[in-house]
């Protein structure tokens, strides 16, 4: 069973000519249609997130300022990021879509949820919009879960490092943040030495990868670098920052994945969920609408046991060395930090 929370953002928040555009939502929905799921798909209509839900991860002052900025007509927030009059409601609805997905899974205790919403979220910081993102959708959902004492694994396979999500949960032992991303690339953070704050040592795992890296390298990165931390963490929920801009056709980056690779990645990360009904995917990037459509279909198809493979998976690209290096750097940083903070214990 696939639960689609949304779609939302299919018409509002349109910067005109900007790559983060409403057409991305239609492409995602076409990808879902390609699977012909029939009664196996359930649509959830999300509400806007409320202030208390958003304030778990954003400063109230920022939320008020963003609301006022949009109301006054909006504009550029930084060279990449725009907001318009209706962006405030679009962003709150995107955040609400994540919360609705979690609620739907809790009620059913079964299935997989996909949050089809924009604007995306993983670059948004506690006090600042950034990188096309206004509110950090996945963080708002993760914080709702940790408020109920859940342990949340976030896997971020978007081609860019999710600096906002990492920063928000930097010192939170209830969230394990794992990211694979092209390096060097925007936003410039996400080295393997970034392992979490003093109360959450080892709760951040970054695996930077070189341009041209293929699907086998990304899977190896998660299997060889992140898996020990995931096993140790023993998550009760798994949330995915599912950007599809690591696809080889994407205009914003240079990794070399195919839609088939996302299918394999999805199968891999689904294995980290403790039981059915505990996996939520959040749409992040993905700016080539054809690649986005295929990648969404392949990903969800794999999760639902459907063999929809519009493209073969890829292998043989560069990056194996960087994966080994990330493993060594993470280990070294972790052991050094533990020596400096002998009293700190990772909390389960």
């Amino acid at each position: 069973m696939l639960i689609v929370s949304g779609p939302t953002g299919g018409s509002e928040h349109d910067g005109g000519g900007h790559p983060e555009r409403p057409a991305r939502i239609s492409a995602v929905m076409e990808g879902i249609d390609d699977l012909h799921l029939g009664t196996d798909v359930q649509i959830v209509v999300p509400h806007v997130a409320n202030l208390a839900q958003m304030a778990r991860v954003h400063d109230t002052a920022y939320l008020n300022e963003l609301a006022a900025f949009c109301k006054a007509g909006g504009g550029q927030l930084d060279p990449d990021t725009y907001a318009m009059v209706d962006s405030w409601s679009a962003a709150r609805r995107a955040a609400g879509a994540g919360l609705a997905a979690v609620d739907a899974l809790r009620q059913r205790d079964d299935g997989v949820a996909f949050v089809v919403a924009r604007p995306p979220g993983h670059h948004a910081l506690r006090d600042r919009a950034m990188g096309f993102c206004l509110l950090n959708n996945i963080a708002i959902s993760a914080a709702a879960l940790t408020a109920d004492d859940e342990r949340v694994l976030i896997i971020d396979w978007d081609v860019h490092h999710g600096n906002g999500t990492q920063a928000i949960f930097w010192d939170d032992p209830k969230v394990l943040y794992v990211s694979t991303h092209q390096w060097p690339l925007f936003p410039g953070s996400g080295t393997a030495q970034e392992i979490g704050g003093p109360h959450a040592l080892g709760r951040t795992v970054n695996i930077p990868l070189p341009a041209g890296a293929t699907g086998d390298v990304v899977r190896r990165a998660i299997g060889e670098v992140a898996l020990p931390a995931i096993d140790d963490f023993d998550p009760t929920w798994v949330l995915i920052s599912a950007g599809f801009d690591a696809h080889r056709a994407d205009p914003l980056a240079n990794l070399a994945l195919s839609s088939g690779d996302f299918a394999e990645l999805a199968t891999m990360v689904a294995g980290f969920a403790p039981r059915p009904g505990r996996l939520v995917l959040f749409l992040e990037g993905g700016y080539d609408v054809g690649a986005l459509r295929m990648s969404v279909a392949a990903t969800l198809g794999a999760l639902l046991g459907d063999s929809y493979h519009p493209e073969d998976s890829t292998c043989g690209g560069p990056g194996t060395e960087m994966v080994h290096q990330a493993r060594a750097e993470w280990d070294e940083a972790f052991h050094r930090a533990r020596l400096l903070n002998p009293s700190e214990r990772r909390v389960r």
Binding site: P19, Y62, E65, L66, A68, F69, A72, G73, G74, G75, Q76, L77, D78, P79, D80, R128, A129, M130, G131, F132, H160, N163, P184, L185, F186, P187, G188, S189, P251, L252, A253
Partner: protein
């Protein structure tokens, strides 16, 4: 207070940023410091406008000639990220600037004052002092 050895200045090609670069060159000449001129490469610039950085570098070279600063003292730095984050990072390693300089508007400035500008964000988060060069300082 540690001596001013490295001054980092943000540059996006705007007139405000040019004023900031000129001010940084002037200060560097007085105190015998290096200047790292930093340009933030965002998501859109990475994708679409790779020629932009080349033009900006030429402008910085021209500003350096006009200021009469020793060109060996001037370093051009393209950094992935948003303007605010790359300057905050310049205050720590590997650039390890002792001072950050920005124009009062320019790259990353918000259309309104509601959300504060890059300079405001910097003042809040930077590890080292920040100088905001006021608009219209040129010619004064």
């Amino acid at each position: 207070m540690r001596p001013l050895q490295t001054i980092a200045v943000g540059f996006d090609g705007s007139l405000d940023a040019e004023a900031a670069v000129r001010w940084a060159f002037e200060l560097a000449s007085q105190v015998d410091a290096d200047v790292v001129v930093i340009h933030a490469v965002g998501l859109l610039e990475y994708a679409a406008h790779r020629g932009v950085a080349v033009e900006l570098e030429k402008t910085v070279e021209r500003l350096a000639r006009e200021a009469g600063i020793d060109s060996a003292r001037v370093h051009w730095n393209l950094a992935d990220g948003d303007p605010c984050s790359v300057l905050i990072r310049a205050g720590v390693g590997p650039v390890a600037a002792d001072l950050l300089v920005v124009g009062s508007r320019g790259q990353g400035a918000h259309a309104g004052l509601l959300l504060g500008s890059t300079s405001h964000e910097l003042a809040e988060h930077a590890a080292v002092p920040v100088v905001i060069v006021p608009t219209g300082r040129e010619g004064q």
